[in-house]
Symmetry: C2
Subunit: 283 residues, 2 copies
């Protein structure tokens, strides 16, 4: 690792390469579209093509672990190669695993994904706080120690997410308090307080979530915003949702870029086009 | 697969082998205690020793995926062998992965862990509902199709879990409604309604959680209760926590049994002793 905290490395990368995060989602339907077999060889071809197309120009690549795990340990071995190759080419890798557990088990996930020398170590990972934000402490500590980052699920755009994320944490004297999602924001903000240029504890917030939902003003950390393109949000919508937090937002796109494959040049120019649209909309 | 639903297979197994679930947790500290190296060879030796000791007599074995993922794809390959060997010896395998995502990503996790022919397919897996209970539908459907089961995180015993699990889902007219944990129970119960002898959608509920917390009376599904032994609950406490639901409870123990290794006979007799204590306490 470079030694610098993730928030600093991310800020530097976004300044140089723009804010777009491209998802590497080897969905079976996309393998079909690219004329690849639905097996480990197709998975590997797909994922390494993505690395070749994006890793030299795009700030953050986000492989979705589920699509690799679907092929068992051999799929996970492909994921290891994707992480290593993308990082060698200068991209930051945000591995989308949404892990969450307690105590020594959470520490084992931190070992797997955030420790120097682990074959699956990325620059940052997504984590899930159903067991409480505090259950993530072993990962927060390891990330701080190794200059890596976390993106904690806060408020997602799928409609059924509201059943948990909009529930109200009991306030003082049994009064109705903030939502679960806001309490996640607040706890991440407490960890990021005082960090410059940006803290290393990010959040996942859907790009189509209403702005009134959450107060992100004190976060001082990065926001991963899935849902650009295929899920309905355009670059202009991002400003409406995220407002002043927009400079720290990583809009994520997968399907809308990946449908241009398997041609490497076509994939790259599709990603660069989205990246430049985002830059123009943010001006 | 046998073709029978998971709830029926579990009921049959518990009748024959008792209700104990033994966790296979290759924690680094346990590898040290067993005189094994902290590497893939130590992991494999540890996990296959557990299979040899428990799979012929114990109803449910629960490997904790995090401890395998910590060694990357080679660790995941060991996990594949553990699952296959344990199932061949007649145990049910509940793989503790706590996955949770939406749409095609959740479907990919279902493919990985619940589909016939996948190298990581277990009899059941744990899942996390932070993205809403409804986000688990692709896994619920695949489990139903292949005779497998799910254990959805509901209420865990770690103190920081309350920040999410005790939040209140808005009721009618903005009134304060049930807790998030209870809403998970209610949605699982709806899926299990009418199943005999037992539905296939289980829950994870801590063995040290107070009984007043949750109404489990309509669940009609299995409960995984981690926290037996090392985490403080004894067999008698289970009756106090789970009451009438006790017949469907799988008390899970790991550290308290595993500390008797690496001797296979000592491990086996430790597990059988806990199993028999549980049976005596339930009478």
């Amino acid at each position: 690792m470079s030694g610098a905290p993730f928030g600093a490395r991310l800020t530097e990368s976004v300044a140089a390469r723009g804010s777009l995060c491209v998802g590497i989602d080897p969905h079976p339907g996309l393998l079909d579209q690219w004329g690849l077999p639905r097996d480990v060889s197709g998975l590997e071809r797909f994922a390494l093509t993505c690395v070749e197309a994006f890793a030299g120009d795009i700030s953050v690549l986000k492989p979705q672990s589920a699509f690799f795990e679907a092929y068992g340990s051999r799929g996970v071995a492909v994921l290891e190669r994707v992480i290593a190759d993308a990082r060698s080419a200068g991209a930051l890798v945000l591995l989308d695993v949404k892990r969450g557990d307690i105590g020594s088990t959470m520490a084992a996930y931190a070992q797997a994904y955030l420790s120097d020398g682990s074959p699956l170590a990325a620059d940052a990972v997504t984590v899930s706080p159903y067991l409480g934000f505090g259950s993530l402490d072993p990962a927060i500590e390891e990330a701080a120690r190794t200059g890596r980052g976390l993106f904690v699920l806060a408020r997602t755009s799928n409609p059924e997410g509201a059943g948990v994320q909009h529930a109200r944490v009991d306030g003082v004297g049994g009064a109705s308090g903030v939502t679960v999602a806001q309490s996640i924001v607040d706890q991440a903000a407490a960890h990021n307080a005082g960090a410059t240029p940006l803290g290393s504890i990010g959040l996942v917030v859907g790009a189509t979530v209403g702005r009134a939902d959450l107060d992100l003003s004190a976060l001082n950390g990065p926001l991963l915003a899935p849902g650009l393109g295929a899920q309905g949000a355009g670059p202009a919508d991002l400003a409406a949702v995220f407002g002043d937090a927009l400079p720290a937002v990583l809009p994520a796109s997968a399907r809308d870029v990946l449908r241009h494959g398997p041609d490497v040049a076509a994939l790259r120019s599709a990603a660069l086009r989205v990246r430049d649209e985002l830059a123009a909309a943010a001006r």
